[in-house]
């Protein structure tokens, strides 16, 4: 579905990603594991078009997308739930969700999709007239995920969706992600809880200093010595 080859990204002379090749298959729940600053967020932002690669190609369902602008990439069906949520704080919950369906195809199915999101997060329905900036962290994360779903994505990418949330909220968010995956959306997940994400994923990549060092089935990686030492604290 998504095929990245020999991707290289640099910021002002500093290389952030080097020779990264990744494949995401339809229906997968792919985990990307790595320490802070390894380049995980850069990878998602490059896929989304916020960052332009110096070298390499990104192909989505047969189309080259690495030179497209972010709005065009959203229209192709790739959506990101960004780290820090990046909501519109002085717009209501409902308006934030509507913005998620900004593209023309999504706009046609707006009310249908909205019902679906409200079903997924009943709390958002209650708070739909509240300004997004006044919500709790967990609720904001729900809006961020809901907003991404509004575009009817084929590929949903989540960047640290549980960061800073209370344990109960973390569970809820991750459960929802699993739920979305189960209903047929391909998911790429970056999650600080490495053990958990390796447990639930179909496949995973390990990213270190901007390069892929390991890849494999989640369960295989759980048994890998390096992973155990570096990420699971065993």
């Amino acid at each position: 579905m998504l095929k990245i080859q020999k991707l290289e990204v640099s910021y002002g002379g500093m290389v952030a990603l080097r020779d990264v090749s990744i494949q995401v298959n339809e229906g997968e729940l792919l985990a990307i594991v790595g320490s802070n600053g390894a380049g995980k967020t850069t990878l998602l932002n490059t896929i989304s078009g916020l960052v332009k690669p110096a070298k390499g190609t990104i192909e989505f369902m047969g189309n080259r997308i690495e030179r497209l602008e972010p709005p065009a990439i959203v229209r192709q069906g790739i959506v990101q739930v960004p780290e820090g949520r990046k909501l519109f704080p002085r717009m209501t919950v409902l308006e934030n969700l509507e913005m998620g369906a900004y593209g023309p195809q999504a706009a046609d199915k707006l009310s249908e999709t909205l019902d679906m999101v409200f079903e997924l997060f009943p709390k958002l329905k209650e708070r739909r007239k509240q300004l997004a900036g006044t919500l709790s962290g967990g609720e904001q994360q729900m809006v961020a995920i809901g907003r991404a779903l509004m575009s009817r994505p084929k590929l949903l990418m989540l960047d640290e969706p549980t960061l800073g949330l209370a344990p109960k909220m973390k569970d809820l968010v991750l459960k929802t992600v699993l739920n979305i995956h189960k209903k047929g959306t391909t998911v790429v997940l970056i999650e600080q809880n490495v053990a958990y994400s390796l447990n639930i994923c179909t496949r995973a990549y390990v990213l270190e200093n901007g390069s892929i060092v390991l890849e494999g089935q989640g369960r295989d990686l759980l048994g890998n010595e390096h992973v155990k030492k570096a990420y699971l604290g065993l």
């Binding site: 078009g49 916020l50 972010p70 519109f88 999504a106």
Partner: protein, 290 residues
């Protein structure tokens, strides 16, 4: 010492002038709020609006109030073109570059006006330029009243546009979180173009509304832009409603302050308000809501 009649006359004058100020400031605050740049050429777009009205009336006999539409379209077009070709390339650059650019545009526009239309003052003489009626013992000058009503209606229309339409919501989203807007598929560059076009068109419309009773020359914008900057800061930079209320406050403060003290001090009065706001509430009157 000041009679009630003079006081209320000044008060009404202040409100009517405040409406025009507000319309100029609304455009400026919209551009600032969305793109995070201060448009130092704002007054010159007001000047262009005045000339559009003048020439439409003089050459084609078009009533200034119809020119509102013409000026909106022309200035929206000029604004989007300038945004696309000049402002967009410097948006990611240093704030100093943006400042130099908009000041450069302002110099260019006023010099262009001198070059094309000379520096002579001009006035529009419509049949209603000087008509007024009495309300009790207060004189209401009709073109000012009409200008005020236009300014209020246009501000409301613009508010509804931003609140209710898809493009308007997209502009607001882009102003609140640029990356967030990009990630949901909003064409932020287009939103900037539209916001800049609308912002300068507001200044242009204010110029058209002033044209039946004001003088027109290439440097007339400067007198209005200073007041507009004060209002934008007073009403919290980027805050639409703040600019409206700030416009009225400054209009009234100048009018009342002008008769209580000395008219030459009225800019000192608005500047005093400006400094007090900066000292005690640097984010402006509506800073809490940001």
């Amino acid at each position: 010492m000041i009679t009630a009649q003079i006081f209320w006359q000044s008060f009404i004058n202040g409100i009517l002038m405040g409406g025009i100020y507000a319309l100029v400031a609304v455009g400026l605050t919209l551009i600032y709020g969305v793109m995070n740049i201060m448009n130092f050429a704002h007054g010159e777009f007001l000047m262009l609006g005045m000339y559009i009205s003048y020439w439409a009336f003089t050459l084609l006999g078009i009533d200034p109030y119809l020119s509102v539409v013409i000026a909106f379209l022309i200035l929206f077009l000029i604004g989007t073109l300038i945004e696309k070709t000049m402002i967009e390339p410097v948006l990611k650059g240093q704030p100093l570059n943006q400042l130099l650019l908009t000041i450069g545009i302002s110099l260019f526009l006023s010099n262009m006006a001198v070059f094309l239309w000379s520096s002579d003052n001009r006035s529009l003489q419509t049949t209603y330029s000087n008509t007024s009626f009495n309300l009790g013992n207060i004189v209401l000058h009709e073109p000012r009243l009409v200008a005020f009503l236009f300014a209020v209606v246009i501000s409301i229309v613009l508010y509804i546009f931003l609140q209710k339409t898809k493009i308007g919501k997209g502009i607001r989203a882009a102003s609140q979180h640029k990356e967030g807007a990009l990630l949901v598929g909003i064409d932020v560059k287009k939103s900037y173009m539209i916001a800049f076009g609308i912002g300068v068109a507001c200044a242009g419309i204010a110029g058209v509304l002033l044209s039946p009773f004001f003088y027109i020359n290439p440097t007339v914008g400067a007198a209005f832009s200073f007041t507009a900057y004060v209002i934008v800061v007073l009403g919290t930079m980027g805050n639409f409603v703040g600019a409206l209320i700030g416009g009225l406050i400054i209009g009234i403060a100048e009018a009342i302050g002008g008769i209580v003290f000395m008219p030459s001090l009225k800019q000192v009065i608005s500047f005093g308000i400006f400094i007090l706001v900066l000292l005690f509430k640097p984010t402006g009157l509506f800073g809490g809501q940001q």
